[in-house]
């Protein structure tokens, strides 16, 4: 069994230690207090110290582990999958439900190889109707269906 030191694999543990140090640095803003009367900074300090210790342990353990096979990410699909909900957040307020759903659905459909335009249009109409019925009509949440003109 090949066993050797592998630097790049330590990244997870190193990031954790970094996070812990960042947390400790931010925590300076809060008073520590004493055992008897703990200030708002006491518990966070314990948490970040523990995190630093665990981070070091993970870095050491991972550094000596055989590299695990990592599934490769299809970055084009990943970008579309992330862009879809972001588009929803950006469009829902200025342009209303229908446009936001259309953009989200279209972007999400990009992640599946063969997207048929007619199918997607049908899906947009269906989802818009469904969301309007469930959220606006039944749950009474005030969201505009279409952009206000004028």
């Amino acid at each position: 069994m090949p066993r050797g030191f592998n630097g790049p694999q330590m990244i997870g543990g190193v990031l954790l230690v970094g996070l812990a140090l960042g947390g400790l640095w931010l925590n300076q803003a809060h008073e520590l207090g004493t055992f008897r009367r703990m200030g708002p900074g006491y518990f966070p300090m314990l948490v970040f110290l523990a995190m630093a210790v665990v981070g070091i342990a993970i870095a050491v353990a991972d550094g000596w582990r055989r590299p695990a096979a990592v599934e490769r990410t299809n970055w084009r699909r990943f970008a579309a999958a992330v862009a879809a909900p972001v588009a929803f957040g950006l469009l829902i307020e200025p342009l209303g439900l229908a446009v936001a759903i259309a953009a989200t659905t279209a972007l999400a459909a990009l992640t599946t190889g063969k997207a048929r335009p007619l199918r997607i249009i049908g899906l947009v109409v269906f989802l818009t109707a469904l969301c309007w019925m469930v959220f606006v009509s039944a749950l009474g949440i005030g969201i505009a269906l279409f952009p206000a003109l004028g």
């Binding site: 069994m1 997870g12 954790l16 996070l19 947390g23 931010l26 809060h30 004493t34 055992f35 008897r36 009367r37 703990m38 708002p40 518990f43 966070p44 948490v47 970040f48 995190m51 665990v54 342990a57 993970i58 695990a68 990592v70 599934e71 990410t73 299809n74 699909r77 990943f78 579309a80 999958a81 992330v82 879809a84 909900p85 972001v86 929803f88 957040g89 829902i92 307020e93 759903i101 989200t104 659905t105 999400a108 459909a109 992640t111 599946t112 063969k114 997207a115 048929r116 199918r119 997607i120 899906l123 989802l127 969301c131 469930v134 959220f135 749950l139 009474g140 949440i141 005030g142 969201i143």
Partner: protein
């Protein structure tokens, strides 16, 4: 107990709550049946729908979603060999083989009937054990609670799936995220960076939907489509008298093991199913047939995971401690309704406690009907192409999050959690402990501060009080057990890397 159950049925049997239970079980099954989507994801996705409801109704619906999703996952495992989550992996071992041998109907029937029996037994256990445990918990002071929460945290990190160290790291990360917001003791703002929306802390739903819902959808969308292929044909959905006899003992053993494991910190449905299968392998009369398509191999784990799904509510409702990530979601849901889970829930909210228990049993009857006669509907659902399915789930996710506060920021935060969750799983960091840490962290801090006030800064209070010392000893044993296990695996020849599944 009978009076209380009568009260429960009075609550659960109102038209509104019956409808909520049915809708939850139906929706849970529908989403849980989808390949790759397990109960945690299903509940996260549907959580926002329940916020507008009356607390009891909302919780009844969430519970329905939970066991619905649990059942739904077994359907996919048996018919398609595609487990939604770990608890269903075990079911594929014999269930899919049975389906290939033309016994799909019998396998589904065994899973459903076993689950129903287990659910009934677990409901009775909750009704008996819940109030007793709550009475004990009423005597707990801050030191006992601190030790209990610590045990819960450590137990769920080391007993759960994946690397114990990485689970602890995620749990600490969750506690860290739980620090954001206003400090309960002093009212001071911590880690809010002056952003108004963070004064109340990070939104629980935003985190859950992102970490489990969106991350899961991203994963499904970026991996080549596995869905929509190879559904085995259905056969008669019932058991022969011989099969009835074969499943009786496994169902009872599964119910027992599942009920016990469901209450343990870090236990939950997955571990219950695995343990029940292992038990069957050891003591079952047909143990040599397991793995070749034996009906016992379906009945035992399916009974166990359903029993565990229900007994998980015992520590949640009586002690206020969620034993696993699904129950942590339930804590979040309760708190959003303004209910503090804990021993006092029985006194202050008896309708919620007993109503939920009664509805679980009614829900199990409903699932019997949802699953056996309607199985054709779920099979058809499996044939929906991914190109339509995942965009729909994503849109509903976004709608759900946005509708809570009318805040686009919530959607962006959820996406950030989704991206993080995707990479966490890829790097072998299980996301479930993060949710548990997030929920239990504030309880840990509060009880630590109060214990120290009580003892005038004397740490020995935790070991001088017997109950607290016992709980800490259990936590220590859990850690020691894992350390021994890790050391054994490190020895030559002992290294075994299984696929990382969350």
């Amino acid at each position: 107990m009978l009076d209380n159950l009568a009260l429960g049925f009075a609550v659960a049997a109102t038209a509104e709550n019956l409808a909520a239970c049915f809708a939850g079980a139906m929706l849970g099954t529908a989403i849980g049946v989808l390949p790759g989507i397990g109960p945690i994801t299903t509940i996260s996705l549907l959580l926002p729908l329940t916020f507008g409801m009356d607390p009891a109704t909302g919780l009844i619906m969430l519970a329905g979603i939970y066991y619905g999703a649990q059942y739904g996952g077994s359907t996919t495992s048996i018919l398609m060999n595609l487990p939604g989550e770990v608890s269903a992996v075990v079911t594929t071992l014999d269930g899919y083989k049975m389906a290939r041998q033309g016994e799909a109907g019998a396998a589904l029937a065994a899973a459903t009937i076993g689950s129903f029996i287990a659910g009934t037994l677990a409901t009775l256990l909750i009704a008996a054990a819940g109030p007793a445990l709550a009475k004990v918990a009423m005597l707990f002071g801050p030191p006992e609670y601190f030790s209990l929460v610590l045990l819960g945290l450590i137990g769920s990190a080391v007993l759960g799936q994946g690397s114990a160290l990485k689970s602890i790291a995620m749990m600490l990360g969750g506690i860290g995220l739980g620090l954001v917001g206003t400090d309960l003791q002093t009212g001071e703002q911590r880690f809010t960076f002056g952003i108004d929306q963070l004064y109340d802390g990070i939104g629980f739903t935003v985190m859950a939907v992102g970490l489990f819902g969106i991350a899961e959808v991203i994963r499904c969308m970026t991996t080549p489509d596995a869905a929509g292929t190879g559904v085995t044909p259905l056969t008669r959905l019932w058991l022969t008298p011989r099969q009835w006899r074969r499943i009786t003992a496994p169902v009872l053993r599964g119910s027992g093991a599942g009920s016990l494991i469901g209450m343990l910190p870090g236990g939950g449905a997955s571990l219950a199913a695995i343990a029940a299968y292992a038990l069957e392998r050891r003591v079952g009369r047909n143990r040599r047939l397991l793995g070749t398509g034996a009906i016992e191999g379906v009945a035992a784990p399916e009974s166990a995971n359903n029993a565990a799904a229900q007994t998980g509510f015992i520590p949640l409702l009586s002690l206020g401690i969620p034993p696993n990530a699904v129950m942590a979601l339930m804590v979040g849901a309760l708190m959003i309704h303004g209910i503090q889970p804990g021993p006092r829930i029985l006194e202050t909210q008896p309708t919620i406690f007993w109503g939920l228990i009664a509805s679980m049993w009614l829900g199990n009857i409903m699932l019997l009907f949802i699953n056996l006669p309607l199985i054709g509907l779920w099979v058809r659902l499996l044939r929906i192409p991914a190109a339509l399915l995942y965009p729909s789930i994503l849109v509903l996710c976004c709608m759900g999050i946005y509708s809570m506060n009318h805040a686009a920021l919530d959607v962006f935060l959820a996406v950030a959690f989704g991206i993080a969750g995707y990479f966490f799983v890829r790097a072998g960091y299980p996301p479930a402990p993060m949710l548990i840490g997030f929920v239990l962290g504030p309880m840990l801090e509060e009880n630590l501060v109060r214990s120290m006030l009580l003892s005038r800064g004397e740490w020995r209070i935790f070991v001088e009080r017997p109950v607290s010392a016992g709980l800490l000893l259990l936590a220590l044993l859990a850690v020691a057990g894992v350390a021994v296990g890790m050391w054994r695996r490190r020895r030559p020849g002992g290294v075994r890397h299984g696929p990382d599944v969350d």
